[in-house]
Symmetry: C2
Subunit: 327 residues, 2 copies
DNA sequence: CCCTGCAACTTGAACGATCCAATAATGCAC
DNA sequence: GTGCATTATTGGATCGTTCAAGTTGCAGGG
């Protein structure tokens, strides 16, 4: 076991005071170049690492960010959450922060966890995913002056807090354009029942694009809860109309998979989220730029923590269409 | 902003000393029942939460565990890692620990991260996933006396450290038995090339079960890197033999998916890992008990941290077969 | 010549918990 | 009532860092 190396050890080795070493680390501009170099050398020689606990106790900041990891499979999930988490961890590390996980059964439970984590001074900020209309969590945090960023915008009032989101409408617009460009004229949309911000946005993108190309979207639109069976049913329903669609834009890969089964390979289908399922079966799908989104979340959050706490920022990212064999 | 509540505030409120409050929290047996209750009430009234940073500075323990989150898609990944992480976080929280994430490009990079995290006294232990033959990381950690548990056993020397693993051979054995019981006699195995511990174990389960039922496994076995195309190719190869198999046991859902496509619905197929892909397309698959495995990892790790540091423990869990439509 | 201002650095105290050693309270036998 | 062991409680020191205030040396203005 090597000797414990503290800031005092470094100070003695470099023949300066503790505070000067601290300044080299935190406010280098206060230290003369020559001294700074000498201290840096001592740090390197001794292999000194700052003791986060001690720093945290003094400054009250832990350089730890928290993200909820969900047990369920709705909203952002599976490999989507997986890739998002990796992006967060990577971006946070680059800025000297760490990412911590927590679980919660529901929003109320999550607020209890907020209290726990904050009161024991364990962390500095939150990244929230899967925000709903009038999300209680965001109000709770804002009220207490806790810094946070959401992945997913607050649909009621866009500038209430900082967020990063993917332009869902643009995703389905790209999908619809692709189908139109490959010759389709009657393009159906299979999405979720009206009312969810994300779902409505995805429907909008399809609808607006149809109209932009002078195609009538009337009657080509079905809504059902997420699921393969539901997607299949919607597709069958649309295919038995007098003028059936020749292609489908779907609000999720699950719905798309159902549509694909129902159509038996005779319709073009595009899904949403680019899940492993899509990759596995060659489903063309709209892909969210998750690493980028994660990095922007961290940027925003750290901006709030380090810098100007006034005002909020919003970032809207464009998804991209991953063309495979189904469209 | 409410007043800051420290152990001193609680002590004053309950008319005892700081040390007594500390004892109530850490060594309740030293405190008289009556006093203990009074202190607990003061804690509840004031909403006191222990300051983790201060505790950590004194005790040198952070109550933080770390897990690597991988960018790539091999080994344990996607929704598998997702579910495992949730299990870890949940189990850790129950024991008063938190889970932190870190990234690394390769094993060497990971060891550099170990150094960083440990030197700054940021965490107490590691959960490693995806261990290889003669994993350098485990040697490095063991050498330094750092506590860790792996999910996946060290194939060279089982008792070198503590681990939790799923009985892969039992999984393919269950799959093979299921196929035999539903009337199949010629059952092929599509796995990875020999040499990986997990892959060889999965092949073993199939082979042993075949022999146990007096069925000859000779010539029914193919190996290829993981992937849908590879699975399809192996299946086609097996189907063109003089006595082709009527069913396939596969080492992964990806390989199974390929086999399914190649067989065109005329063969029974069973995959491994019960990924969302399997659920989506109705693929029968072997499911790993991830929440349970995660909980056992945490149990073992915390045992090592809190209690007896002597000896290692091993836990082998049985997977279960999720029967869907393909077998 | 004194005072002010500045840069570069030093010193003592504080953050909030736990550990340690010493003290006070209690019970019991003689 | 005294002595002694047992248990419960106390005050002080401590972990490693940063904050606030202070010291030193030197240049320039009045």
């Amino acid at each position: 076991m090597p000797e414990k190396v503290t800031i005092a050890t470094v100070a003695a080795h470099a023949q300066v005071s503790r505070q000067t070493v601290s300044n080299v680390l935190n406010s280098p501009h206060l230290v003369r170049e020559e001294t700074r170099v000498r201290v840096q050398e001592a740090i390197a020689t001794l292999g000194y690492r700052i003791n986060q606990a001690a720093r945290q106790m003094r400054t009250g900041r832990s350089r730890l960010l928290a993200v909820r990891i969900e047990p369920t499979r709705d909203g952002i999930n599976g490999s989507v959450l997986d890739r998002f988490l990796h992006g967060l961890t990577f971006a946070a590390a680059a800025a000297g922060y760490r990412v911590m996980l927590y679980t919660a059964d529901d929003d109320g439970d999550e607020i209890k966890t907020f209290e726990d984590l904050l009161a024991s001074h364990e962390l500095d900020g939150f990244v929230l995913t899967g925000t709903d209309h009038g999300d209680v969590r965001t109000f709770w945090l804002a009220e207490r002056g806790v810094q946070f960023v959401t992945f997913g915008r607050p649909w009621d009032e866009p500038e209430r807090h900082s967020w990063v989101d993917v332009d869902n409408a643009d995703g389905t617009a790209q999908a619809t354009r692709r189908l139109i460009e490959t010759g389709h004229r009657r393009i159906g949309f299979i999405g979720w029942p009206a009312g969810s911000g994300v779902g409505d946005d995805r429907r909008d993108g399809w609808q607006r694009t149809m109209k932009a190309y002078d195609l009538d979207p009337a009657g080509l639109d079905r809504g059902a809860p997420d699921g393969i069976a539901q997607g299949a049913e919607c597709a069958r329903d649309l295919l038995t109309t007098p003028e059936p669609p020749t292609a489908f834009v779907c609000a999720s890969d699950s719905l798309a998979l159902g549509a694909l089964q129902a159509a038996g390979g005779r319709s073009a289908v595009i899904g949403f989220d680019d899940t492993p399922v899509a990759e596995a079966i060659g489903l063309t799908s709209v892909s969210q730029p998750l690493p980028d989104a994660a990095a922007r979340c961290i940027d925003l959050l750290i901006d709030h923590l380090d810098g100007n706490p006034v005002g909020t920022s919003q970032v809207l990212l464009k998804p991209s269409l991953v063309v495979r064999t189904t469209a």
